[in-house]
């Protein structure tokens, strides 16, 4: 539905309903646009100014998967570390090293478990990140650095499985999918505390 047809549809709805509420919105009542606003308010009570258009499935489809810790937003798909390793070597190793050890500016993705209390902590996906969903979400939205947005869901499941496997969190043949991923317990899941600041007396 075009913007214009929405305009007419809402206008007609408002007229037939005959439920203008001028008193409530006097600040908007004297401009031409306010007529549209009132019409849209009647169509959807939550709208206050009648701005924007209703989002459609096509609008949602334009956006990246937004994945929460319970797996909200994960697409269907699956992959194993074995499959992920091949993609890793092709697309990731150039920066993160042949086995996730990191190079120069690029962070290590493996190791560091048990190091966080030491004088030389090594916070990595394996030792630090509290949720496996974060790995999927970040790889999917931001990696590979030069070509973000090009990985397919199965490839992201595979890569995530590979990163978890080299950190000893899942076995190399473990199938990661939209159900098993949120259930993975990361080693540092309980390693975070709320902000206690102000903390200096």
């Amino acid at each position: 539905m075009s913007r214009q047809s929405i305009f007419y549809a809402l206008g007609a709805l408002a007229l037939t309903a005959g439920a203008f509420n001028f008193a409530k919105h006097t600040s908007l009542a004297d401009s031409k646009g306010a007529g549209l606003a009132k019409g849209q308010r009647n169509a959807a009570e939550s709208a206050r100014y009648g701005l924007g258009r209703s989002a459609s499935a096509a609008d949602f489809a334009k956006h990246e998967y937004l994945v929460g810790p319970k797996g909200t937003g994960l697409p269907k798909g699956h992959g194993t570390a074995v499959q992920g390793r091949a993609i890793y070597l092709q697309s990731c190793a150039v920066c993160h090293g042949g086995r996730g050890e990191g190079t120069n500016d690029y962070p290590a993705l493996v190791g560091g478990q048990g190091s966080l209390k030491s004088d030389n902590p090594l916070p990595t996906v394996g030792s630090y990140w509290p949720y496996a969903t974060t790995v999927w979400d970040y790889v999917n939205r931001a990696m590979p650095y030069q070509n973000p947005g090009t990985l397919k869901p199965d490839e992201v499941y595979g890569l995530t499985a590979y990163l978890l496997a080299i950190n000893g969190i899942v076995s190399p043949d473990f199938e990661l999918n939209e159900r098993t991923l949120p259930a993975v317990k990361m080693p540092n899941r309980d390693g975070f505390v709320p902000d206690p600041r102000p903390d200096v007396k």
């Binding site: 937004l66 916070p123 509290p130 974060t134």
Partner: protein
Amino acid sequence: MLQHSALMSKSNFELQSIDRRKFIALGAAGLGAIALRPVAARELGDPRRAYGERSPFETAMRSFGASVTPGTGSSRTPLQDLCGTITPSSLHFERHHSGVAKIDPNAHELLVDGLVDRPLVFAMKDLRRFPSVSRVHFIECAGNSGREHNGRPGENVQRSHGLLSNSEWTGVPLKTVLEEAGIKQKARWVVVEGADASRMSRSIPLQKALDDVLVAYGQNGEPLRPEQGYPVRLIVPGWEGNINIKWIGRIMVTDEPFMTREEAAIYTDLMPDGKARWFSFVMEAKSVITRPSGEQILDGPGFYEISGLAWSGRGRITRIEVSTNGGETWADARLDGPVLPKAATRFSLLWKWNGGEAALQSRSTDETGYVQPTREQLISVRGLHAGPDGFNHYNGIKTWFVHKDGKVTHV
């Protein structure tokens, strides 16, 4: 100036013929008084221009290191070269994760969805029709001056504190936008996503979202600069820079934080016990002397104005004290008004330098009564355990050391 000097050294009778008639005419008006004036024509200035540039004599620049991925990383504001409180938009610090997004404002849309009554898509022209506000706020990277924490202080204030800038932002309150879509009862957070290549995203508590967060399209009287999120970004007053998402394309209302990489790993604070603080949003009261500061040279004993910036993510700055002896004694500095909440405040103190060594420090207090701590105080609580991206939220007192020869260095 050189031209004038050359003419002044000549006798009036040696002037070029082109000036002779003028000279004679003026001479008739009063030879004695006029005789010493240089008479070369003054050079006309440049023509008008449709878009202004600074003087060619001014050279202040953002600074950044070399990188194999130039689109990432940060650039720093030359605080030592600035006056007042507003950072020129062209010198506002940068921090990008996948380059400066190029976005056509006529094609850009903002999706508001999740736990809302009616998911909506806003074009830029829609956002500009909402009632707007303009507010001055600082943005400070969580990692600003993190190297001070680590004992590797910046040699100048741009290096040490240049991930701080302060602008007037114009936009619509996020509350207005969210209420347009209708917030459902279960809503507790909003997840905000950038339209940059890496789709940078963060979760913000709904309480803050409904408090003072802006969906901003203006900066210092003009549209946002591309580096600052053109055409539309989030301003989250007083909170760490990273959460002020640029180039926003989506706001999803949720019942929980989504544990994005930037909040569940990177912008966290690792403590000595191996636990890490997360969702440590607020930038606590801080200040730094920008003049005199590192790598500057005092031009002999006498009066100087010690000047700097102070800011607090919890509200207004209420007091700035300055010490010239490394914190042994303190004097109240003058605050340049208006002192705005969650905005940079300029302070100054007149100082007569006697030519001896001096250790300059500033200490800010905000309206909650919080006093900017020393590095030692911070380390006693937070230790020296670097997290995934070093140290965040460091706000210790900074010292500049004035040597007898006038050179100023970091300590």
